[in-house]
Every structure is written in structure tokens, then in C-alpha cells.
């Protein structure tokens, strides 16, 4: 080896010319540019991703509404004309809504045209009409102007997402609907308001009636289960491994196992949940309790690893001081080491929770992907979670769900940002350098 080296030294005559130096400097510059380009590429894609989601999703926070003059006839509650009145809540509101719409456009007479006219407003319009009457019961036999949600297609037209320039056959909104809509706008019967439905409703087949509240509640319930299971178990495991575990093969096995578990694909945890929790233990399908359990198993390694790092960062002198004062080993850890390590453990936990909040694949396996309209009320109700809702809406055929999906993603990202910021702040404020 050294012989070889000496030979090559004697053979090599260093090329010290200016040209070679310039070449080397050019290579240097190129290399730097590669690095900058790589970083710019990554940041550019991030910007493109966020930009495309914000631009498509922002419009979902507003909603087009159309003003209708609804006349609440008393015959509405007397469907048979016999004087036997049905309760206000079960009147035929669809009839009055449609009549008020026809009154606006008396020229529409053909059956097909009428049907096309009714498609301007949302299929939930009768519910809005009912809701108004139930809160203002003295409106019977009066005409009231009520703002009613437009259908999703008209909403898209109003937001410019359906282009008028496209040929009619390729457009979801037909020419006559555009004419009617323009007439309504001219009469100041069209407005765009904040979309409360998005934040208060569960899922729906109709884009204008669909909301993320059900999924948000589902996510919340699921995360509570995840936190309640993974935090105590994770902290206890970290304490054991860091302070009490004897150095032997079993401890090594546990350690290797935890490291591997952290890298197991999340979908495999879903398979575990399906085979063990659903089929063997017979836990309720689609429920937050089982979703939370699966996610807890998934986040457990994260919390254990973060917990061990935090416990390890506390200097041994603190534990030794406690022991010297007569504390038992367990007291030394629980009274002194653990409280000092808590900020680090909490940071790791929050990051683990943020990952669990964004996780989708294992939840698909255990049936949290069902179409669920009701807002879940307990841990065993069928529920879905925000990322699964995003997945479901992304798959929906209606074009109007695209902006809803982006809006749901924006809400999800907002939650994630808040959680990660909390973790950063926690780390900055409480982290001690020993």
C-alpha cells in the first residue's frame, strides 16, 4: 500500500496551471448551485402544494345564497284539506319553496324546465324553510324573504369555477339556468356569505350540505383515546428502559423491537387492528375507540423514543442527589427526573399526536372510511376523521367537492401547525441546557 503510494507520488506531476485551477473553481461553483437548486426544488414544491390547495380551497369558506320570497300558506299544514293540522315540523316545505321559485320565473312551464329550475337551489332548501318557520312561528300566512343555499353547481358558477365560455353540453350548468341566475343577481337576490355549514355539518352527498364538523369531532375523540393510551404507557416504558431495566438480552430485545416498530408501515397497524381488535375481540367497527387504539400502538414508539431521549438528557447528578438524600430509586425518578424531563416528553407526545392526526391508512382498514352523516357523540359511535374525510371527498365524483377537500385540508393543516407550534414553544420555553 505505502509502496504503491510512493510510486504514484513520484509519477504524478501536479498540474498547477491557471486553467486547471479555474476548472476546479468552476466545479466548486457548480456544486454549490446543485445544492441551492435542490433546496429551491424542495421549497418550490412545498410552495406549489400549499399554493394550489389554498387557491382551490379558499372559496369553499364562502357559499352562494339565493333570496326567495316564501309564502307560508296555512294549507301547508293541512295536506288533506280536512282541517286536521299536522305539526309545523312535518309540513310539506318543498312545495312552498318550489312555488316561490316558480313565482319568480312565471315563464317556466314545461316539466323539464321546471326540474332544471329547481336545481338552482340546494336540495336542503326545504329544511332551511322549515327551520325559519320553526323559529318564527308567526310567519304563517305571510311572505318572508329567506336566504337559501344555492346548489353546488350554481355556487361553482358564481365563484367562476364553471366557465360560461365552455360549450353547454360540457358544462354542468345549462344556459337557461345561467339566464335565471343572472336575473336573480340583477334583482339582488344573490349573495355570498360565510359558509357555516362547512363547520357545523357532517358529511353529505350534496357538496353544499357537506361539512367537516363530524370528521373533526371524530378526530378529536380518536385523538383522546390515542393520548389516553399511548402517553401513560409510553412514559412508563421510557422510564423503565432508561432507569430500571437491567442490561441484558431481554432489554436489548425490547429496545430493538421498539426501534423497528417505529419504522413499520402504518398500514400494517391497520391490518393488526382488523385481525385482532375487530375480528378477534369484536370491538365496534368504525368507532373512535378502536381507531384511537390502533393509532396509540402506532405512536407508542415515537413517545417512548422521545421520552428516553428526554430522560437521558437529565444529568445523573440529580438522581444521585435524590438517592443521597434517602429517596428510593423510584422516588428519585418520579419526584425529580421525570418532572425535569416532562417538557421533552410532552414535545415528543405532541409531535406523535400530530402524526396520528394526519394518519389515514390504518383507519381505512378498520372501517373508519364509511359515509357517516351523524356527528359522533361517544367513543363507540361510528365516526370518521379529518384525513379520511379528505380521502373520501377527494374520491367523490362531484366537481364541487374539490374545493371542499382543499378546505378540509386547510383546516387539517391548521390543526397540525397549531400542534407543532405548541411543541416548538414548549421546547423553547422549558428546555434546559445542563
Amino acid at each position: 500500500m505505502s509502496n504503491n503510494f510512493n510510486e504514484s507520488i513520484s509519477e504524478l506531476k501536479p498540474d498547477l496551471s491557471e486553467a486547471r485551477l479555474r476548472k476546479r473553481y468552476r466545479a466548486e461553483t457548480r456544486f454549490r448551485i446543485y445544492g441551492i437548486a435542490a433546496i429551491l426544488f424542495a421549497i418550490g414544491i412545498l410552495a406549489l402544494l400549499l399554493g394550489s390547495i389554498i387557491t382551490t380551497g379558499f372559496s369553499a369558506f364562502t357559499q352562494t345564497e339565493i333570496a326567495l320570497d316564501i309564502h307560508y300558506e296555512s294549507t301547508l299544514f293541512d295536506p288533506d284539506g280536512t282541517g286536521k293540522f299536522v305539526p309545523l315540523s312535518s309540513g310539506n316545505y318543498r312545495k312552498v319553496v318550489r312555488k316561490s321559485l316558480r313565482d319568480l320565473f312565471p315563464e317556466v312551464t314545461k316539466r323539464r324546465e321546471k326540474r332544471s329550475l329547481y336545481k338552482i337551489i340546494s336540495s336542503g332548501a326545504d329544511l332551511s324553510a322549515r327551520k325559519y318557520l320553526l323559529s318564527n312561528p308567526n310567519s304563517i300566512e305571510k311572505t318572508k324573504r329567506i336566504w337559501i343555499k344555492s346548489s353546488a353547481d350554481i355556487d361553482s358558477l358564481n365563484k367562476g369555477k364553471i366557465k360560461r365560455s365552455v360549450a353547454e353540453s360540457e358544462r354542468r350548468v345549462k344556459n337557461n339556468q345561467i339566464l335565471w341566475f343572472d336575473k336573480l343577481s340583477k334583482e339582488n337576490r344573490v349573495r355570498r356569505t360565510f359558509n357555516f355549514t362547512l363547520f357545523s355539518a357532517g358529511d353529505s352527498r350534496e357538496p353544499e350540505l357537506a361539512g367537516i364538523w363530524g370528521a373533526a369531532v371524530g378526530s378529536f375523540l380518536t385523538l383522546i383515546v390515542t393520548l389516553a393510551l399511548s402517553f401513560p404507557v409510553g412514559v412508563m416504558a421510557a422510564v423503565y428502559l432508561e432507569s430500571f431495566a437491567p442490561k441484558n438480552r431481554w432489554t436489548d430485545l425490547i429496545e430493538v423491537n421498539i426501534n423497528n416498530l417505529a419504522a413499520v408501515p402504518s398500514i400494517v397497524f391497520g391490518l393488526l387492528g382488523l385481525a385482532v381488535f375487530l375480528n378477534f375481540l369484536g370491538m365496534p367497527r368504525s368507532a373512535p375507540v378502536i381507531g384511537g387504539t390502533v393509532l396509540a400502538l402506532m405512536t407508542l414508539p415515537t413517545i417512548i423514543i422521545a421520552g428516553r431521549a428526554a430522560l437521558n438528557a437529565v444529568p445523573p447528578s440529580i438522581q444521585e442527589a435524590a438517592l443521597a438524600m434517602g429517596a428510593s430509586p423510584l422516588q428519585a425518578v418520579t419526584h425529580h427526573v421525570l418532572p425535569l424531563a416532562m417538557p421533552g416528553i410532552l414535545t415528543g407526545t405532541i409531535i406523535g399526536m400530530a402524526r396520528a392526526l394526519g394518519e389515514t391508512a390504518p383507519l381505512l382498514m378498520i372501517g373508519m372510511v364509511a359515509f357517516i352523516v351523524d356527528i359522533p357523540k361517544s367513543f363507540t359511535d361510528p365516526a370518521t376523521v379529518l384525513p379520511v374525510q379528505v380521502y373520501l371527498w377527494a374520491d367523490a365524483p362531484e366537481r364541487a367537492f374539490v374545493e371542499k377537500t382543499s378546505a378540509a385540508i386547510l383546516v387539517l393543516l391548521l390543526f397540525l401547525i397549531v400542534m407543532n407550534l405548541a411543541a416548538v414553544i414548549l421546547r423553547k420555553r422549558f428546555e434546559k441546557r445542563w
Binding site: R24, Y25, A27, E28, R30, F31, R32, G35, A38, I39, A42, I43, I45, L46, S52, I53, T56, V233, M236, A237, Y240, L241, F244, A245, V256, N257, N259, N260, L261, A263, V264, P265, I267, V268, L271, A275, F280, L281, G282, L297, P301, I304, L330, A354, L357, T360, A361, L364, M365, S378, T380, P387, V388, V390, Y391, A394, D395, V402, L416, N420
Partner: protein, 460 residues
Amino acid sequence: MNTFILITVLLLFMVFSYQIGKKRVLKTASSENIKLHSLPGYYGVYIAVLCGLPALFLTGVWLSLENQILELILLSELPNKISSLSAGEIDLLVNDIRNVASNNISSREPSESVLSAALRYNQLKSISLFSLAVSCLVVCILGLSIGLKKLDPTLRARPIVEGVARWTLLIASIIAVLTTIGIVLSLIFESIRFFEVVSPLEFLFGLNWSPQTALREDQIGASGAFGAVPIFAGTLLITLIAMLVSVPVGLLSAIYMAEYASSQVRGIVKPVLEILAGIPTVVYGFFAALTIGPSLRGFGDSLGLGVASESALVAGLVMGVMIIPFVSSLSDDVINAVPQSLRDGAYALGATESETVRQVVLPAALHGIVGAILLAVSRAIGETMIVVMAAGLAANLTANPFEAVTTVTVQIVTLLVGDQEFDSAKTLAAFALGLVLFLVTLVLNVIALVVVRRYREEYE
């Protein structure tokens, strides 16, 4: 829900018995004028543990066995004609009964016998819950009375309580091992059932994958083709594309950050790159399907290339972006761990910075970088949502990145989501795929961990 109430009641019992124990021991100590062996709280915990822990344990065991036992009782009570049904049909029946019992929407209109069985099931369930509650109460009172009898100021409560606490800690750390065992067992059991129908050789080396072709129930497995090679090939293709994106970008940005960037630039760029890692994969999937897919397709069309809108390229590109921060942060650690003396030596010989990086730092960090790349590969293979939303469903055996291919994870999701009869080869195939996925990622992770660990030892 009732189980939650039961557990809450048990916990309340424990709090209550803690107070009793603490007060009782303080009272005896002061009246008999003896010094306590341990702090009073330990006596409280001692009583609470004796009172609550056996009952909690009982609840856990009871609940985990309840389902199987109830099913057995239910089946033994059903009319005799069910003995002629196949195992799959019995499973379906039990599922129906359970759905009706819990007021879920059932797949079919419940028959009279299913309804009565559902009633019986609910009745059995409430009997079970009631007897569980009663036995918990008995165990609680028993524990409480034993504890109170033993309670004495000279009792060495602290060592006992600490012993229990240590065992609890040990059990908590074993849960991770149990999870792994659970994963392995459930995957292996279901896969064995799958391999009873389809031979492992056909599964691993067959070239034809079409699990959906079964027409009649009794010919399931006989008609579907379960050759998984196209799926493995698709997974590899997408992983390869993802690596072609993420390794150069991740590595170069890590090098720039570690060797060139000022600390201010690093302070900004590093968190920004970490945002990429924090974005949920479902968002990447949506981004791929909404933005990248159509624009790549349009681009391909303008070049005269037929790019499928669900092409391997789209999924691979977006997955590569997702993995960039993973590669860059791991290689950043590795590059920073290379001792400064090596760099100084290279500079002293007149090398430029890039020459130092290429000829000294990178070879020195190679182990670690290889480990990082292996971890990234395992991440890419196991990634689900991006490919579910952006890659295709049909198993295509092709190396053309412009065509749609499918992956292991996509197949697992499509086979298991939605209505499914358990026990059909179709659903069991998902577990066999899961087993392959688990084993491959496990091997990659183990190799990567060994490589990285060995590398670390070199410079420490």
C-alpha cells in the same frame, strides 16, 4: 359505553380506598403511638392497588374473551340447520346478528331468526356485563377487606407498592413487544389460511393478479389469480422513481446545509424542509391527483407521449418529495458526525470545499448515507395514501413509468375497504401481501440500523 362506566367506577373505588387506607393507618399510628414504616400515601396506594388492580385485570381478561365465548353460546343455540353452513357463511351470519344487535345498518334485510338471535345476543351481552360488574364488586370488596386486615403501621408498604410499580413499568415496556407479536401472529395466521387456497409459489412467482374475478361464492380462490409479481414490480418501480427524486435532492440539500449554508439560512431552510415531513400523506395524494397528475399528462401529451393520468411517474414523484426531508435530515446528522479533522486535513492539502465533500466527507459518511437511503426505501415501500390516490388499481407488469401500475399497499387497501366477506381468498390475500410488506420493511430497517450503528461507532 357501559364498559367505560364500569372502569370509571373502578377508578373511583380506587381513589376512595386510597383515602380509607391513608386515614386508617394514620389513625392507628396516632392512637397506638407507633411510627409509620412508610409515608402515609404508600398505605393508601397499597389499599387502592389491592382493591382495584385485580378487578381491572379481571375486566381486561373478561372483555377480551367475551366476544369469542358469546359467539360460541350463540352458535350452539341457533337452529341445527346452521351446521350445514360453511365457516364463511357462519361468519357472515354472526356478523349480521351483531349488526342487527347494535342497530347498525345491515347488508341485508334481517330474517326472523336473525332478529331473535340478535335479541338473544343483546340479552347475553347484558348478562355478561352484569356478571362482570358483580364479580368486579366482589373482587374489590375482597381486596379491600384483605388490605384493611393487613394494614398496620409496621407494614412495609413502600417496598410492596414500588414492587408493583416496577412490574407495571415492565409491562408497559413489553406492550411494544406484544404489538410486534400481535402483528406477526395475525399476519401469519391469516396468510396461512390464504396459502391453503393459493400455493405460496403461485403467489410469489405468478405473473397474473386479478383477485376480483370471482363470480360465484363457491368458486372464490379457484377463479381469481393471485400471482403477485406485477404488484411487486409496480411497488419497485414507484419506489425507484421516488428514490431518484429524493436521494439527489435530499442529499444535495443536506450537503449544502451542513457544509455551505450560514447558520441563518440553515435556521430558515431546515424547518421549512421539515414542514414537508409534517404534511399528512393524504394531502400529498390529493396534490398528486389534483395538480401533478393532470399537468404531467398535459406535458406528456404536448411531447406526444401517452402519459396515463394515474402513472407511476406521478405517484413516484410526489412520494419522492415526501421523502426528501427524511433523507436530508438523516444524512445531515451523518455528515455532521464526520470529524472536522478530516475536512481540515483535506483543506490543508489544498482541496476546494466541493472536492473535500466529494472525496473525503461523503466516503467517510457513506455507511450512514446508505443506512438513510435504506430507511427511505422502506418508508417508500410502506407508504399508502399517495399511491392509493395517485397510482392505479390494475396490476400491470411494465417498466414504463408513464403507465399506471399498482403497489402492495394499494392492493391491501382495495381488497379490504368496503364490503367484504371474511375468509375469502380475496381478503386473505391482503394479509399475505401485508406479511410480505412487513417482512421486507423489517429486513430493510434491521440492515439500516445495523449499518448506521456500525458507522457511528467508527468515529465515536
